[in-house]
Symmetry: C2
């Protein structure tokens, strides 16, 4: 196993098994040998790499083998005429190839690998006795081998591994390509990481590019003295920013639909949820409501309706619990901190208070996240998209209170704009720089620690037996030591993108909600995001294991959160304007207050009306989609009709026999 060979073949999955201790020979089949044999039988190409303490099986498969797995999985795939159909290996020509010429996208390949790896069952009639380091494992008939081995702790992990060539290309052309500013090779990212991560980077890139406009405007407002118009310049800035945000989100929807059309992901505006529903929930539905017909099973229909309402009530209850606990527990805590911060005089005390506060909210957020995950799991909803969105909303609620309530307290009750600006700068610059540093260094520390421990273990075991031999040359082992790209809350529902989006949303909220208090914040943010793009790219390419690809058609719940933040920012900016112009604090600037109130309502109206002006989907994408649907229907219309009449004939015959 030399390094060159390893780099040429693009192995895509890694399985970690214990290293065989050569001097202990037991009777019966060895687990690892059986596993490798079964992999070979399934058509996979296996490369065995010995590591320090474990052995790594690197897997890849020829396209025929993947195709057969895809056909078994009944994978839906885009065809040449643009309609998604079940994959069949014999008709592979009918399906669209990826932009890099391969038949399957990385996400599809990943599903096929998983299907093949976990699909190995004992087909014989009797249990097979497997041994591993003299431990006996009974592989029962019909049992999945890998599940069994994972349960017994023999297979430690199954994970996707990096493709060195493509990774290096991406490193050079994306992560280290600082001069591109906001441009990124999105198609390559999609091919390597799948839709969800590519959509995140597309969003981040577009957001950063659009940020340059308010950044310039913000600096202008801050630096230039407009003389007698100075009183009107902040409301003007506020109106510009709001329109900017509304248009940004609307154009993002357009861009999103263009990207999906380019990547040939099935998606239609609005019907999106239906599509996902079909994929993920269909199986559960089929059993419960598959047999309903109109007018026949009235009681069954009622049952489903009752279940539906029951489920809704439970969701409503959970949401109410979270909202009430945020309002009743978190809100007083945040206000208490803000009040103490305001009333304490000395800077040292303030620093100490902030330290205590930061420690406390870390703890609270974790508890909140855990409670949310528990409540969501309690709902027994099979729709994983719904569950992950629900978690996003709940956790965002926590962070929303945490991030903004204190600031609003400073602004509204104490009219302390100095503290407000101070805190905004502090959060924007210091915390984001720190966070970026942390994000990039923490995984490396974790990696180093795991590596160090493994080397120690190795030394301890092999002390004196053989001369020290450097096993540590395989990339797959290095990857195994790297941490998983996971979310800070609810690992099973979300991956590391959750943290990235949370950071973006909180940043967006910060600059939008307090736009009038500190216009230059947009410039800070634009600068920060330019570095963020490359830092995130570097992190995902070099610091973490390759993430499991996830299907996604949009940024999901985060889009609604951004919309919500725009609406809230309209209200908060109006409050800020009132506070700025009404320094006496008697809330009585009759014409001014009325003007601001009217402005608020007009802006809210604009927010909801303007988003209809820019269509979510460009005409040519829509035209293509329509054409495809019609074409497919026309192609198979006649045959379908014959099938239906035929089937109906047999159905009638069937009932006649039954009579």
């Amino acid at each position: 196993m030399d390094v060159i060979n390893e780099e040429q073949a693009s192995f895509e999955m890694g399985v970690v098994v214990p290293k065989r201790v050569l001097d202990q020979i037991c009777e019966g089949y060895d687990c690892v040998e059986v596993l490798v044999n079964e992999f070979h039988k399934a058509g996979l190409i296996v490369d065995r790499v010995p590591g320090l303490n474990d052995e790594f099986l690197k897997l890849t498969a020829p396209v025929e083998v993947l195709g057969k797995a895809a056909a078994e999985l009944k994978l839906k795939k885009r065809t040449q005429i643009g309609v998604d159909l079940q994959f069949e290996w014999d008709e592979a020509d009918a399906f669209v190839k990826q932009s890099d010429g391969s038949l399957f996208s990385w996400c599809e390949r990943f599903r096929c690998y998983k299907h093949m790896i976990y699909g190995i069952v004992n087909k014989s009639n009797s249990a097979i006795i497997l041994k591993s380091d003299c431990r006996v494992v009974r592989w029962e008939p019909g049992e999945r081998l890998l599940w069994k081995l994972e349960k017994e702790g023999i297979v430690k992990e199954v994970f996707p591994i990096h493709d060195e060539i493509k990774r290096k290309q991406l490193l050079k052309g994306w992560a280290l390509n600082w001069w591109d500013l906001t441009n990124q090779p999105l198609d390559d990212i999609y091919a390597y990481y799948g839709a969800k991560i590519a959509i995140y980077f597309a969003f981040l890139g577009m957001y950063t590019k659009w940020l340059f406009f308010p950044a310039a405007l913000g600096i202008l407002v801050q630096l230039v003295d407009f003389g007698s118009l100075q009183l009107l310049i902040l409301p003007f800035f506020f109106i510009c920013i709001t329109s900017w945000a509304v248009f940004f989100l609307q154009f993002w929807k357009r861009k999103n639909s263009i990207l999906l059309a380019r990547w040939q992901i099935c998606y239609s505006v609005g019907a999106e949820s239906a599509y996902k529903y079909m994929d993920s929930e269909w199986s559960s539905f089929h059993s419960s409501v598959g047999m309903i017909k109109f007018g026949t099973d009235k009681s069954e229909k009622d049952n489903i309706q009752r279940d539906e309402w029951f489920c809704h009530m439970r969701r409503f209850r959970n949401d109410a619990i979270i909202i009430l606990s945020i309002i009743c527990l978190q809100l007083p805590f945040e206000l208490a901190y803000a009040h103490l911060y305001e009333s304490i005089g000395s800077d040292i005390m303030k620093f100490g208070l902030t330290a205590v506060y930061l420690f406390a909210i870390q703890y609270f957020t974790q508890i909140g996240g855990k409670v949310s995950v528990k409540l969501i799991k309690d709902e027994k909803n099979d729709n994983s998209e719904y569950r992950s969105n629900s978690l996003i909303y709940k956790v965002f609620g926590l962070y929303f209170m945490q991030s903004y309530i204190g600031l609003l307290y400073h602004a509204i009750l104490h009219r302390n704009f100095m503290t407000l600006r101070q805190v905004i700068i502090q959060r924007l610059i210091i915390s984001e720089v720190l966070e970026n540093l942390m994000e990039n260094s923490l995984p490396y520390v974790k990696y180093s620690y795991r590596k160090y421990r493994a080397v120690c273990n190795k030394r301890k075991r092999e002390k004196g037996i053989t001369a020290r031999k450097s096993y540590f040359n395989s990339r797959v082992e290095k990857e195994y030591f790297k941490p998983v790209y996971s979310a800070s809350v609810g690992e099973e529902l979300e991956d590391g993108l959750f943290d990235e989006f949370l950071e973006l949303a909180l940043q967006f909220g910060m600059i939008m909600m307090f736009a009038c208090a500190f216009p230059p914040s947009f410039a800070f943010t634009a600068l920060n995001n330019v570095t963020e793009i490359r830092a995130d790219a570097l992190k995902i390419l070099a610091m973490y294991r390759r993430p499991c690809p996830r299907v996604a058609a949009s940024i999901g719940a985060w889009f609604n959160i951004f919309q919500f933040l725009i609406v809230v920012s309209i209200c908060t900016n109006c409050i800020l304007l009132v506070c700025l112009y009404d320094r006496d604090g008697n809330w009585n600037i009759s014409p001014g207050l009325a003007a601001i109130l009217i402005m608020e309502h007009v802006l809210l109206l604009i927010k909801f009306v303007f988003s209809r002006i820019v269509p979510e989907e460009p005409d040519w994408v829509k035209a293509n989609r329509m054409k495809n649907a019609t074409q497919a229907q026309n192609m198979c219309s006649k045959q379908l009709l014959r099938n239906i009449s035929g089937r109906r004939g047999t159905l009638v015959a069937g009932t006649r026999y039954a009579d």
Copy 2:
């Protein structure tokens, strides 16, 4: 032609042609005879009824003939497995029957009739000379006969005619069935009038049923004295009303989707627009953008994008024109009237002013409607749904200003709640009663006038020639004299339902926007709507011609208008509350004002968040839809794939030949 026969056969279309004057015999083919012959050739059954001055051709067709026309039209129809496919007569068994056992719905039948009637062309190579009362008409080869005859004024009108049996059933079971209150035989209405009218009556029924709750609450608030809580009762009432309205609209969406599932109209939440798009716009799209492929025709893609933006800009300009003219022209006029009304002392002057005002707004509204129609036509948009919605929004804008601005003026600037209540009562009771009377009597007057004129004409012509013979016994002639069910503005875009919905929306706005000023208005409205249901039913059954059926999946733009009215009502009620509690007029009830402002924002939030709690589509409807889609795809997946690979083979071969 006796009455009994006429009642038994259900003729569905009427064509009005001039009555042949028997003593004038010209050479060549007679128009009417040729027309009747061609109808016979097309498979239609023709019944010729002589009238006073015209002759009526009543048409019907056996189901086979309709089926062939449907196949020629490539009509999409729901099949047994729940997917919409192109109709084929040979496979008629595969399609779902209507609830009354017929194969085609009234709307489909109407389309087929139109196709057959207007599809008669001169298939010979030379022009045919037709004569009518010695006038010569050249029927060119390939020309449509009916268009030609309509252009020459020989065929006066083509219109759907009532089915006497069903009409009488509906009269008995629906229009005169007062004791059912809000219940209506919706399925029968759908079968007889098509989806759009049935959906209107379903909406009206549900709205009236739901109105009973706020009606009871409003009377309670008005009559009971709550002692010290009196100050809080109006805000409470306001919150109840708002939640009621939000839930009502959300549950209407549910009901709508259930109705569509029952009537088997293709509809999916959100994708609705796409569906209509396909039907109506597909043809125009196909020609312009049918050939786009990704990455190949970049310039063409740019062209389409430019066209799209150009079209949007024009729409935007038109909308801006309307909005600006409403604000700059109508608003001052309305305010001037309100101000004069407020400042004039004597009641007689007030009455005169109101008369002048009413006369003026009639005129203004007509101008506004005409300008709107002109602007919309200027947009050259082929999507008839978009055009009709655009008209609805624009005309509603006019009426919105007209109806509410004066009231708001009384409330806010003069705090004159007496005038406000007076105007509300006046509008709710007097105007609605008057309108109902007018709506029901005007068509009868028109009908009587046309009948009278026809009889006069007849008498004049036949004076002294023959003894007076009563020709006036045919129902089809009576129907011909009845007015068309048309809108007061833009007849070509909307039918009479426009006026009905406008009335409902204005009423809803009136009671919602001024709920706090006069809580019992809900009770008046509930009573009024109970009579409205039966009055409208009577009107459409007895007073008007049978309306042309129109396809619709929802109440369309009106739904958005109702949503908009709820939002506006939240704001106006808050203003009213401020005015009610702050009698001094110094806008300074600090805690109270702040509380009301907070309440407003919370309610607005609830409006947008709560509408997500109730799902638009019941689970079982969704399940059915999903099942159908999957089933259809699975059935034809293989064959489609073979087609695609096959077609691709020939395509490749084709290019090879071309090379």
